[in-house]
Amino acid sequence: MTERTETAAPAAAAPPADRPTPVSPAPAGAPAHKGAGAPGNGNGRWSGDAGESFRRNLGLVGVLVVLIIIGIITRPDLYGDMNWVGDNIMSILTLASVVGVVTVGMTFVIIGGGIDLSVGAIVALAGVWSTTVATQSYGAGGMIFTAIVVAVCVGLVNGFLISYGRLVPFIATLAMLVAARGLAAEISDKQTQVSNNATINGIASNDILGIPVLVYILAGVVAAGWVLLNRTTFGRRTVAVGGNPEAARLAGINVRRHSMLLYALSGLCCGIAAIMLTAQANSAQAAMANLYELDAIAAAIIGGTLLSGGRGTIVGSLLGVIIFATITNLFAINGLSTEAQNMVKGGIIVAAVLVQQFRFKSLTQLLARNKLSSTN
């Protein structure tokens, strides 16, 4: 959210160069951080909530390290081979890429105080619509355009129903989940639609400098999402609208329009994900991206996004997605069943939330105590 997370952000999401970097000169006589008349207060710099999310993200990196160590312990044979390790990292990132893109949109929606249960369905609808024979005749550009326009439009409908129709986000997007999958089944006639477009299919099979194109797309979306959330007025409004809608409204922010845009943004991410997933399977069908909504919500929450809105980080969500992908990978390399894997994932979600609640409380208390004893 602020400076601290900036260092943790991948892909060096640098703000544009025209942004004036130095702090503008403070008015003459602006005092330092310590209030002039507050001798008892203000020992130590305040790191605030930014510091908290930084610590939380560090914790997630810790979890990731533990998972990798488990991998090394259970399959020392594989981890001995550096080539395999490199490939495996790429396959984890590839696995994370599609859900990761969806999660970025989901993170915005949740920070903005909403929830989007229809993301999987939107991916499916956009995937199916972009692979109809008619659409494919327009080539790769036509397919991408269609996927994105369809997904954004569905997102706008969600947003409209919620913002102006005053439907509860949970209900509106649940209805959309059912409806969009229904429409996808209708369009595809419940068939699997094969994509014959080499450019599209190439998105999943091509590498640049040894890194899959899908991973670049994920990195790009994450970087854009980070900049959008932390450096733009759009991001600021998102936090305000989710944190205290009434305060945002009384500060002159158009809360309804903004929450509508958030669902459109989620739709946009789904459109991108639809192309990626279609490319991976060389096809699209109405049942694709099944339960992506749960994966995305879980990843966002593990990443520290508050379900009640107003707080969350893109970096945390990305780490959440990567943790899930690593677990899946861990089970795969050990030849374990997906059932066991789902149970472990469920456990991790609960554990992560519990640990966060518990740890940050005790951690702040601990810090307070230490500070005390050191000054005494």
């Binding site: 703000p15 503008s24 000169p25 008349g37 203000g42 305000a240 500060a251 105590r369």
Partner: protein, 560 residues
Amino acid sequence: MTDDKRPDEQVQAAGPTAVDNPDAVDAPDGVDSPNGTGPAGDPPPLVTPPADTVPGEVVLRLTDVVKTFPGVRALDGVQLEVRAGEVHCLLGQNGAGKSTLIKILSGAHQPDSGQVEWLGEAVSFGNPQAAMKAGIATIYQELDLVEDLSVGENAFLGHEPKQFGFVRRGYMARRTREILARLGHPEIPPRRMVRTLPSAGKQIVSMARALSHEARLIIMDEPSAVLAHDEVGNLFRIIRELTAQGIAVIYISHRMEEIREIGDRVTVLKDGRTTAANLPARTTPTRDLVSRMTGRTIEYVFPDRPADAPAGDELLQVRQLAREGEFADVSLSVHAGEIVGIAGLVGSGRSELLETIFGARRASSGTVSMAGRQVRPGSVGAAVRAGMGMAPEERKSQALLLGEPVYRNVTLATFTRWARLGFTDAGRERAEANEVADRLELRPRDVRRPVRTLSGGNQQKVVVGRWLLGDTKLLLLDEPTRGVDVGARAELYQVIRALAARGVGVLLVSSEVPEVLGLADRVLVMREGRVVHEAPAGELDEDTVLDLVMAGSLMEGAPA
């Protein structure tokens, strides 16, 4: 850090009148044995003027209580002694640690060190339930009601009367009705949803909650901040009843008159330390109290009105504005550079009027114009674009993003102006927020702190400070000094006057009649949703306004 420093600091802080009688303290009751509890080097005890000794036995004694938050030492060695049947006032600037102190007593926070003695035994309340069980009830500064529960359910939250595991709803409603009647508000229905009450009604409910316990100590953190004048009288009557039964009351307020009227003894906090204890509430000169709070003497005065009447152009014009059930037929105008005050009881429709002018509520009829151009009704965005800004009544629910840093709260209405191509300019925002923080003496001064960690009065400064930025032409202020301490209040008045001098129009709502009279150029009096009187402030006095304002009940103005 304190052991060797503390004694002389105290001598210094205690000032001339206080040190007179340093030995008198532990003599009367003998329970006090500072050698047992105090740290090595044992500071000289603080003052208890013997003349004012309250008869009741000591029920609560705090010794050297310390509480640290990350980066702030909120309490840095607090001493406090409360006797049965007394009203013990806590005085201190915004951020002095009053709320933190009472949160320790109510079990919401745990002290890092120091001793809390309750009814002669050392205690540490691990949670609010423990404190309530022990007989300490608290009315918090920030309302802590569950909005979607009924009045009765809120009053008995956590200790509902039960039988066979079922809540005795009828009995609970009956008890609630009794308590509300005792509070002077039999008209509040116990089964009414709290969400639908106006904020003063909510305050009554949280008071009812405190009374629903068999408490021996009731703590009130700025209860009067949301009450109108007649409500405060009511509150005092209740407090007197309570103390007559031997119940002790800890009373926090920034209003000196109230402390004079209801208080028995005063303990003053400054920067988390007790700078004077057990001063007589009625006789200690204000000058002394203020200097112990602030370390300097502040004149609690209003800035002078400019000699020549404001001749600015008409800025705001409201014509026959009405909102069903709230107010009707309100016409008023505010000129550039003019401060117009609205006096009226809570529930007279003042806040609703302000919100409607600002577009946060939609008028059922009438128009609002700025500089001759009609403002689109029901749109805050349009009002802001037309140059209006409003500091709403309830800071926590209506104005603040509690988890966000101070500077982002200050710039919430203006950040887009400094943004380029949609990219925000954090450096500029911090600089602007710093300037506001200086003008309003925000403490602590670090604008990167989350607003959540600020004291109530400092949060209020953030709310008002928001509209000092940008090119606000008309400022709508709803109870701008609620919870703001004496010093900062004077500061805020200066700031408002200075804004007016620069041509900003101000429409001010306040429950404190002296504030309206002292600050405004022109005063409107509202009663039951109508403007009943209008006059230049110089032609009115407090009694006249109170006469005009009186009559009317709390439940008006609440949506049915």
